[in-house]
């Protein structure tokens, strides 16, 4: 996982979940961030899709279990997206 992808996801998550950026780590998840519920998960999906101009499949959405997992998913998705 590159620091760029992680930082971008962290920035979006910080805004959405109203949690200071420095408190969000790669291990941050719905279990550790109180405001990360199913609706905010949907908000996160929509925000990522808008920011990176991608579409996440239901399987990919299920894989978004932590900030680190999301950053890795994005990296792989963006790497496979035709330029």
């Amino acid at each position: 996982m590159t620091s760029t992808a992680f930082e971008q996801v962290r920035g979006i998550a910080s805004d959405l979940f109203a949690v200071p950026s420095q408190e969000i780590t790669a291990d941050s998840s719905p279990e550790t961030i109180k405001t990360w519920d199913s609706i905010q998960h949907l908000s996160l999906v929509l925000a990522l899709e808008e920011k990176f101009q991608i579409q996440l499949s239901p399987d990919e959405i299920e894989q978004m279990t932590s900030i680190g997992a999301i950053a890795r998913l994005l990296e792989s998705k963006l790497a496979n997206t035709p330029k």
């Binding site: 199913s38 609706i39 905010q40 998960h41 949907l42 929509l46 579409q55 239901p58 959405i61 299920e62």
Partner: protein, 371 residues
């Protein structure tokens, strides 16, 4: 097991039945469509509006579902666009927390089908769906609700929606028995009507099927609305088909020329209304300035049916004023409009545009089973 969302097909019906039974056992009043193939708003070649249904499946078990009605709407900029009405979304999450994510999965799926989405009705802000939509940044407002009480005694004795505490029940019973309620309601409603400008004489004809005279009215007035479902004859024949005998279609005329139309009906019995007979202005349209004429015509038609109360939801200021000028009282509403961010881009500034939208009962939750 992963949850997948698929178009609702006949083979899903037994699983939908089981899903409905679980919802009902959990205390939910609303259930999902028992049949996959719906006659009303069926999708056939070239039809608009039409409706499609989807179910959320977990290894063959239905965990949720929703309906998406596709319909053309006219907007303030003069464009006509097909948008989606997201409704009947039901999730196992309301009775089993393990499926809390199903609601957002259904909505996301609908947003993939159509970015310009709206919801209308939803049972009020206290329900989970409007809360979810607000948190997602959808624009929203309450659509005003009006009622005109025709039989105050029965209304006060049976209006379960208002008889929510023992104090209220006692007060309403006293008002009913003493006649004070009758006097008060009649005075309020009469006062509204007394203050209204005079309405020029009009005539009313009942008709079975919408025909071409409708189109001129649609074109002459659509520019007055920031957002309105297309109400030409072709669309209205699909929305309010001639084979719906419980709907009454009224043509309102002055000097022999049509100035508007209304669809009125009596609501089916609903526990919230007790044993009251409730009439509704389901839909309406008028040449600019004739909104009050149409509401008067609709009211008079319903008044002839021994109803207890007439109700209407209207969003556009002209129609709200028409109801007030026809002796309707504005009361608390649970009819919520919420529009997705993409749709809201066409409704800016929303605080001003919301009273220029034409949204009525017929646009939202309820048809055809509520009448």
């Amino acid at each position: 097991m992963p949850i997948v969302i698929e178009p609702y097909r006949k083979e899903h019906e037994p699983a939908v039945e089981a899903f409905n039974q679980r919802l009902q056992a959990g205390g939910e009043a609303i259930i999902f469509f028992r049949q996959a193939e719906q006659q009303y708003l069926a999708k056939v070649e070239g039809s608009n509006p039409y409706q499609v249904q989807f179910v959320a499946l977990e290894d063959g078990t239905v965990r949720g579902g929703y309906a998406l009605k596709r319909q053309s709407f006219s907007f303030a900029d003069g464009t006509v666009r097909s948008i989606g009405y997201y409704h009947h979304c039901l999730s196992e999450g309301v009775i089993n927390q393990a499926y809390a994510r199903v609601g957002s999965m259904l909505l996301l799926h609908a947003m993939r089908q159509e970015q310009m989405l709206f919801c209308l009705g939803m049972g009020g802000y206290g329900r989970p769906l409007p809360n979810m939509l607000i948190r997602l940044g959808w624009s929203h407002c309450l659509i005003p609700f009006y009622m005109r009480v025709l039989r105050p005694y029965r209304f006060l004795k049976q209006m379960e929606r208002l008889r929510t505490s023992s104090m209220r029940r006692i007060a309403m019973d006293v008002g009913a028995i003493s006649g004070a309620g009758w006097t008060g309601l009649k005075a309020l409603q009469g006062g509204q009507r007394f203050r209204a400008p005079r309405v020029a004489p009009f005539s009313v004809e009942q008709f079975e099927e919408f025909s071409d005279w409708i189109d001129h009215l649609w074109e002459s007035a659509r520019g007055n609305y920031g957002m309105a479902a297309v109400r030409d004859a072709k669309t209205l024949r699909i929305l309010y088909p001639a084979n719906f005998p419980h709907l009454t279609r009224l043509k309102v005329m002055r000097d022999g020329a049509p100035v508007g139309w209304a669809v009125v009906a009596e609501r089916r019995k609903n526990p919230r209304w007790g044993n009251l007979r409730v009439g509704t202005v389901v839909d309406c349209w008028a040449a600019p300035g004739d909104e009050v004429t149409v509401i008067r015509a609709a009211t008079e038609a319903l008044e002839q049916r021994s109803l207890d109360v007439i109700v209407s939801n209207q969003s556009h200021q002209a129609w709200c004023t028409a109801l007030e000028h026809s002796g309707f009282l504005k009361t608390s509403s649970n009819f919520v409009f919420a529009g997705s961010k993409k749709l809201a881009e066409l409704l800016q500034p929303f605080d001003q545009q919301k009273s220029r939208m034409h949204l009525v009962r017929g646009d939202g939750d309820g048809l055809p089973w509520a009448y």
